[in-house]
């Protein structure tokens, strides 16, 4: 056991030849709208990206937001239920829509 520990220590000191700098990517707080549907956004979107990713898409039509939500499920495998698909699309269009359906 002792031998193993020494070996482990030795190995880790050998392996630490990489970066000595602090590489922690900082967290940024994004000012996203909070309403009754925000829970669906928290449940589904944050697996893979920040809210900044949403805010910086610009204002889009309802159809465009819907396509994005579906792409998140089909391509990126976000576990979005049928119900949340509707809720998140409504939320995105309400706060970040361009008032056009198509």
């Amino acid at each position: 056991m002792k031998k193993m520990m020494i070996l482990g220590l030795l190995l880790s000191s050998l392996l630490q030849a990489g970066y000595s700098q602090n590489l922690k990517v900082p967290s940024v707080a994004f000012d996203i709208k909070i309403d009754k549907d925000f829970g669906a956004m928290q449940r589904n979107c944050q697996w893979c990206h920040s809210f900044g990713y949403i805010l910086n898409q610009g204002k889009l039509s309802k159809e465009s937001w819907h396509k994005i939500v579906v792409k998140m499920r089909e391509v990126y495998k976000a576990p979005i239920t049928k119900e949340d698909e509707k809720t998140t699309t409504e939320y995105l269009f309400k706060h970040y829509g361009n008032a056009k359906l198509k």
Binding site: L14, L15, Q16, A17, G18, Y19, Q21, N22, L23, K24, V25, P26, S27, V28, W47, C48, H49, S50, G52, Y53, N56, Q57, G58, K59, L60, S61, S64, K67, I68, V75, Y76, K77, A78, P79, N98
Partner: protein, 398 residues
């Protein structure tokens, strides 16, 4: 021409306009005035910040006065939320497998010591750079024009690596995968494919950028460098090369980063092009780094406008400056050409005579004679890719 003929001709012309897929001129200048963030990312100066996870950082306009973009101002674009930290460098390797005689496991030391080191100075630009110019707005990050930069990359020729592995007869494609990997299972990893015949001597696997090791956020420890091509092909944290017999379908090649496969590379939101192709090669573009719209300039003072221009490797022939909204143009002074793939820095001295607003425009022409169009003449595509409109900066002369 007879009057009647004229009318007939114009009727034909308008019918042509109506029947084509071309939209009305709606493209504008891209976003220009975004502020840098107070949150600082590792090895970077404060940059315009769209997202922290994945990190999406843009260089402000003031970063484009020189041919080389400093590493700490260089833009950042990742796809997946979690970037592995290669703390244990000795465990990192670039693996070469597939249709080869000898599969390779290459450590960083091996790459540095057992292959010839070469340098390539080249522009790295996101295909969606300047996307905010397109109307109607397209989905994707609404970049201004700072999702680009130019650096001296040092590394190993991809050809040399393939020669060492020995490509088997009949192989024609390469799969290139980096550690831009997703969190959710079965989501696509970041990968690209290249046809073997596309690989020139200038395609390298780089371990250095501007004489430093690659910054963590720019793809440390290894990045694929493909001069002239948009950066979606420049795989970051490159860890696997697979030689293939034939092309394999994958998301980042077959769905993302594509433009219409027609002559104008254009379509409308109502009528998307039936056929698309990868964005690949860059078009001619220029950008003014100084002055910016924040710059206050005194009337009758001497001003030295500075900027950069580039294309996909034919090189820049000239850069033209207009101070009267594009009616007349004068040649800017070109600095030394670092490489045909690099930013070509330019400058133009002028003296604003009267107070008020003054619009400065820059237009690059490449050695093939291709020149930048006015932004209003740029056609729309669904991904908002490849914008290269004439740059325009309005300053206040006081």
């Amino acid at each position: 021409m007879k009057r009647r003929d004229f009318f007939r001709l114009s009727a034909i012309a308008s019918a042509l306009v109506l029947s084509s897929t071309r939209s009305l001129a709606l493209t504008t200048q891209p976003q220009n005035n975004r502020k840098v963030s107070s949150v600082v990312f590792p090895q970077k100066k404060p940059l315009i910040t769209y997202s922290d996870r994945p990190p999406l950082l843009e260089t402000p306009r003031s970063g484009f006065t020189t041919a080389i973009t400093p590493n700490n101002e260089f833009f950042v674009r990742w796809h997946s939320p979690k970037i592995p930290i290669p703390r244990y460098l000795s465990m990192f390797s670039l693996d070469v497998d597939g249709e080869v005689n000898t599969p390779l496991v290459l450590s960083l030391d091996k790459l540095k010591n057992e292959f010839e080191a070469v340098e390539v100075t080249a522009v790295l630009q996101c295909g969606g750079n300047s996307r905010s110019a397109f109307k109607p707005q397209t989905s994707g990050i609404q970049w201004g024009s700072g999702a680009m930069g130019c650096a001296v990359f040092k590394g190993v020729r991809l050809k040399d690596i393939l020669a060492k592995a020995g490509v088997k007869e009949g192989a024609s494609w390469l799969g290139l995968r980096g550690d831009d990997t997703p969190i959710l299972p079965s989501a696509p990893s970041y990968a690209r494919e290249l046809e073997l015949h596309e690989i020139s001597d200038d395609v390298i696997v780089a371990y250095e950028m501007n004489a430093e090791e690659l910054p963590y956020l720019n793809g440390y420890p290894l990045r694929l460098i493909i001069p002239g091509m948009y950066s979606d092909s420049w795989v970051k944290m490159l860890s696997k090369i697979t030689v293939l017999k034939e092309y394999k379908k994958m998301f980042y090649m077959d769905t993302a980063y594509r433009i219409p496969a027609n002559e104008c590379e254009c379509e409308t939101a109502d009528k998307l092009a039936p056929k698309t192709q990868p964005i690949t090669s860059m078009n001619v573009k220029s950008y003014i780094g100084y002055p910016t719209s924040h710059t206050k300039i005194d009337a009758q003072s001497n001003v030295l406008l500075k900027g950069i221009a580039f294309d996909n490797g034919s090189g820049i022939k000239e850069v033209l400056i207009s101070l009267d909204k594009g009616i007349s143009w004068e040649r800017a002074e070109l600095e030394k050409e670092l490489s045909v793939y690099a930013f070509r820095a330019f400058s133009y001295a002028f003296k604003p005579m009267s107070k008020g607003k003054l619009t400065l425009m820059a237009k690059a022409v490449n050695r093939r004679g291709e020149e930048q169009p006015f932004s209003k003449d740029i056609e729309w595509n669904h991904g908002g890719y490849k914008y290269n409109g004439i740059d325009s900066v309005t300053i206040t002369v006081g």
